[in-house]
Amino acid sequence: MDIPRPNQVGTGEPGFEVVARQDFSDTTFLLEIEHPLMANAARPGQFVIVIPDEHGERIPLTIADFDRDQGTVTLVIQAVGKTSKEMQRVCQTGSALFSVTGPMGVPSHITDAKKVICVGGGLGVAPVFPQARAHKENGAYVIGIVGFRSKDLVFWDDKFEKYCDEFIVCTDDGSRGIKGLVTKGIEAAAEKHADIDELIAIGPPIMMKACAETTRTLGIKTMVSLNPIMVDGTGMCGGCRVKVGGSIKFACVDGPDFDGHAVDFDDLMNRLQRFKEDEKVALERWTESCRRLDQSPLEPLPPDKASPRAGA
C-alpha cells in the first residue's frame, strides 16, 4: 500500500483544506479538515497542533471528532484570542491551513467502566463527545452532561442524545435544562446513580477543577484533559508542563489526560496566564488592522503581513 501523501509545507502545494465549516454562535465554530491519515489514526482524547498561516503560532486543539470514511477530522474552535479570531474570519470552506500535525498525545484510555459520566463545558463539549461515543460503543451506560452560558450557545445536543443514555444540559441563566454549573448536573446524576465508575471532564480549567472537587467527595474516579500552552507538541520544549501528583508531566506526550484528583489546577491556571500581556497586544493590533481593512478593503495589508522574512 502506498501512503496517501499528507499535504506538505514549502512545496507550493496547498496546505490542509477546510472542507466544511459550521458556526455554532458568535464565538464558536467548527472546521472539518481533510486529512485521511489523521482521520484513520485519531483516537478520543488526542489533539492536533495547527498553524493557521506562515506567520502563525502553533496552537493545540483537541480533536472533536473524526470521520474515517470521509477522511476528515473535526475541530471546534472558540474565538477568544488573536489566532482563533483570525481563524474565525479567514477559515472558510475551501481555504487551507498552513500546517496541521497530529494526532498528538496519548489517546484516552477507554476503560471497561459500566457507568460513565462525560462532562463537557463550553468548548470542552466537542472533545468529550468522542469519549462518550467510545464508552457507549464499549457497552457502558453513558450520562452526558454539558454546560453552556445560555440555550443559544448549545450545540451537538443531537449527537450527544444519540449516544447517551441520559443527557443533561446545564445553563448559567437557566434558559435550558438545569440552572447552574455542570457540577449541579453531576450531583443530580450521582444522586440518581450510586454506581458510577468513572467521570470524564473536559472544559475550562476552573470547570474541571470544580468537577474534580465534586467527585472527590463522591469518591468517583475522574479523568480530565488538560490544555496548557504548547509550542511543538512533541515533548521537545517542555512549555506544557503541569503538576500532577507532585511531579512534573508534559501534557503533550505524557497526557493530555490525567487523574483529575491529582492535578494542580491552580498551577495550570497560573501558567495559562503566561502571555497575558502579549496576547492583549496581539489581539488589539489585529482588531485594529481588521477595522482598517473593513473600512477600505483595497488598502494593502501591513508590510509585515505582506512580506515574509527572507530565508524564513
Partner: protein
C-alpha cells in the same frame, strides 16, 4: 577569522564569525603537515579526508576539495560551523603543539560556503534499487542516513514532526551561529539526491513504525528523533511563569520567529534579567539569543567552573565578549515567586570543586551557609534532555533503562530492519556525532538489505612505482610541495607561499 564586533553583534542575528577570504584560506592550508598517518581523520566522526581536501584547496582545485569532503559529509557548511573541532580534528592536529592547530573547521566551512555560492552539488549517477527507506526525523542523524541511502539507490522519505525540516539545525541552533539559509541549502542538496521530505508527520501517532513496515512497505527504517525532552531540576518554583527550557526559548525564537512578535504570532515574553542554568552549547545559544532579543542582563549560572563546562571554547568566548555574566560554582536551590505567579529571584548556593566523579570532572560540592538571593525575572534551564517517549509509547522497540532506544553494535534496534542513531541512542550529543551515527546506520542498513556499499572504493593493487618516487617512500611525501621555477615567476605572492 574575522568576527563581528561584540557590541555590534548583540544587536543583530547576523553570523558572528565571517568566513575566511581566499587569501586566509590558502595561507591556513599551508600550515598543514600532511601527516603520514593523519590523526585528524581518525578523530572525525565521519572520517573526512582532511589532508586530502586541504591539499585540493592548496592546489586551487576548490571543486575538488568539495568533492573530497562531500564523499563523507553532505553538510560541510553546517559542520564547519557547529562541530566541536577542538575536541576532534583540531584537538589532535600536531601543529597545535606548540602553535595553533590548522583551522580545519573554518576551512571546511569555507569550502561549504563556496559550494553553496557556486551551486555545486555532487549528484552521483543513482541506479534505483527498489528498496524503500523511511527516516524518522529530519535532524542531522536523519539527514546523514538519508543521503547515504539515497546515494545507494534507495527510495528515501524523511518524516518530520515540525512544519520545517532540519531538526535541531532549524529550531535549536540560532541564526548567528548557523543561518537558516545554510540549512535550507543543505536540505535542497538532499532533495537533489531524490530524498523526499514530508513535514507535519508525527511518526508513532499519525502512523506507527510497525505500520511503516507492515502496511506501507518500508524495507528498512532509521529512527533519528533526537533526545527532545528537556530536563528540569525539580526544585521549588519551577512552574512559575518565567521559567522555561532552553529548547522552548530557542524554538520560539529560531523556528517561530518570536523575536519578531507581533508580526509573527508566537510570543516570547523575555525577562529583563535572564539567568541561564547550565554551560553547554545550548546554554550559550540561549544566552546569546536572550541578549539579542533585548535582555538587559544575561547570567550564566553553572555549578562547576569554566574548565569543566561542556560548551565549545569559541562559544564561551563569544558569550563572554557579548557581555554574559558568568556565575561559576553557583547552583540554584529555589526559584522565588513575586506573589503573582512570576519569577522574582532565585536562591542560589556557592559550590567548590571536590573529588573527580564518574565523568572525570571534579564534583561540585555545596559550601555550607553560602545561600543568597539572586535577582532575576526569567530562568532558562539548559541542563540537558531526557529521552523523548513517543517511540517507546507507540512501538515495541526495546528501550534501555533511561528510555533511549537500545541498539546493537550495528545500530540495529530490537525490531528487524529498524535502525536508530543520534541523540535518541546516545543522549544529548553533537551534530557531527549524530551525523556519524546516521552514516554508520546507513552502512549497516545497506548490509542488511544486501546492497553493495558504495563507500568502499575498490582501488587497484598499487604497483611498485606508485609506492616510491626516486626511491623515496611515497608516505614521506616531503617532495610533495615542490613547485617548478616557471610557476614561481608567474604567480602571485600567495602562490609563492604555496
Amino acid at each position: 577569522m574575522p568576527i563581528q564586533d561584540a557590541m555590534e553583534r548583540v544587536g543583530n542575528f547576523d553570523e558572528v564569525t565571517y568566513g575566511y577570504s581566499v587569501e586566509d584560506t590558502l595561507r591556513e592550508c599551508e600550515r598543514c603537515l600532511y601527516c603520514p598517518e593523519p590523526a585528524c581523520i581518525a578523530s572525525c566522526p565521519v572520517a573526512i579526508d582532511i589532508p586530502g581536501f586541504i591539499e585540493k584547496i592548496s592546489a586551487k582545485d576548490y571543486r575538488g576539495a568539495y568533492d573530497v569532503i562531500s564523499e563523507t559529509n553532505l553538510l560541510p557548511a553546517i559542520c564547519g560551523r557547529v562541530c566541536p573541532q577542538e575536541d576532534q580534528c583540531e584537538g589532535v592536529c600536531p601543529v597545535g603543539d606548540p602553535l595553533k592547530p590548522v583551522a580545519i573547521g573554518r576551512l571546511e566551512r569555507w569550502v561549504g560556503d563556496l559550494a553553496i555560492a557556486e551551486n555545486w552539488v555532487n549528484v552521483p549517477y543513482i541506479e534505483p534499487n527498489g528498496f524503500k527507506i523511511g527516516i524518522v526525523g529530519s535532524g542531522p542523524a536523519g539527514i546523514a542516513c538519508a543521503a547515504e541511502m539515497a546515494k545507494a539507490g534507495c527510495d528515501v522519505t524523511i518524516y518530520e514532526a515540525l512544519h520545517l525540516p532540519g531538526g535541531v539545525l532549524r529550531y535549536g541552533i540560532p541564526d548567528f551561529r548557523l543561518p537558516n539559509s545554510v540549512v535550507d541549502q543543505e536540505i535542497e542538496n538532499l532533495k537533489k539526491l531524490g530524498v523526499k521530505i514530508e513535514c507535519n508527520v508525527l511518526i508513532g501517532r499519525l502512523f506507527t513504525i510497525q505500520q511503516m513496515v507492515d502496511e506501507f512497505g518500508y524495507d528498512a527504517i532509521f529512527i533519528g528523533t533526537g533526545a527532545g525532552y528537556p530536563k528540569f531540576m525539580g526544585i521549588e518554583g519551577e512552574s512559575l511563569n518565567g521559567v522555561v527550557s532552553a529548547n522552548e526559548l530557542l524554538t520560539r525564537c529560531n523556528l517561530m520567529h518570536a523575536g519578531e512578535f507581533p508580526a509573527y504570532d508566537t510570543p516570547l515574553h523575555l525577562g529583563k534579567r535572564v539567568a541561564i542554568i547550565g554551560a553547554g552549547n545550548t546554554a550559550m545559544d540561549a544566552m546569546r539569543v536572550a541578549l539579542r532579543q533585548g535582555a538587559e542582563k544575561v547570567y550564566c549560572v553553572y555549578r562547576r567552573t569554566k574548565a569543566e563546562s561542556p560548551a565549545r571554547a569559541e562559544e564561551i568566548d563569544h558569550a563572554e565578549e557579548e557581555g554574559v555574566d558568568f556565575q561559576w560554582l553557583t547552583a540554584p536551590v529555589e526559584i522565588l515567586d513575586d506573589g503573582d505567579g512570576n519569577v522574582r529571584a532565585m536562591r542560589c548556593i556557592r559550590m567548590e570543586l571536590g573529588e573527580p566523579d564518574d565523568s572525570g570532572r571534579r564534583r561540585p560540592v555545596p559550601i555550607e551557609d553560602s545561600d543568597y538571593e539572586f535577582e532575576t525575572d526569567m530562568v532558562v534551564y539548559a541542563i540537558g534532555t531526557n529521552a523523548n517517549p513517543i517511540i517507546g509509547q507507540t512501538s515495541k522497540i526495546k528501550l534501555n533503562e533511561w528510555g533511549y532506544v537500545e541498539v546493537d553494535d550495528n545500530l540495529a534496534t530490537s525490531m528487524a530492519g529498524v535502525y536508530a542513531g543520534g541523540d535518541i541512542v546516545t543522549g544529548a550529543a553533537t551534530v557531527i556525532l549524530a551525523m556519524g551515527l546516521g552514516r554508520r546506520a546507513a552502512h549497516n542498513m545497506k548490509a542488511y538489505l544486501g546492497i553493495r556499499d558504495t563507500n568502499i572504493v575498490y582501488a587497484g593493487h598499487p604497483t611498485e612505482t606508485d609506492e616510491t618516487l626516486f626511491g623515496i617512500a611515497a608516505n614521506e611525501r616531503n617532495f610533495h610541495r615542490v613547485r617548478l621555477a616557471k610557476d614561481i615567476t608567474s604567480s602571485t605572492e600567495e602562490e609563492i607561499h604555496a
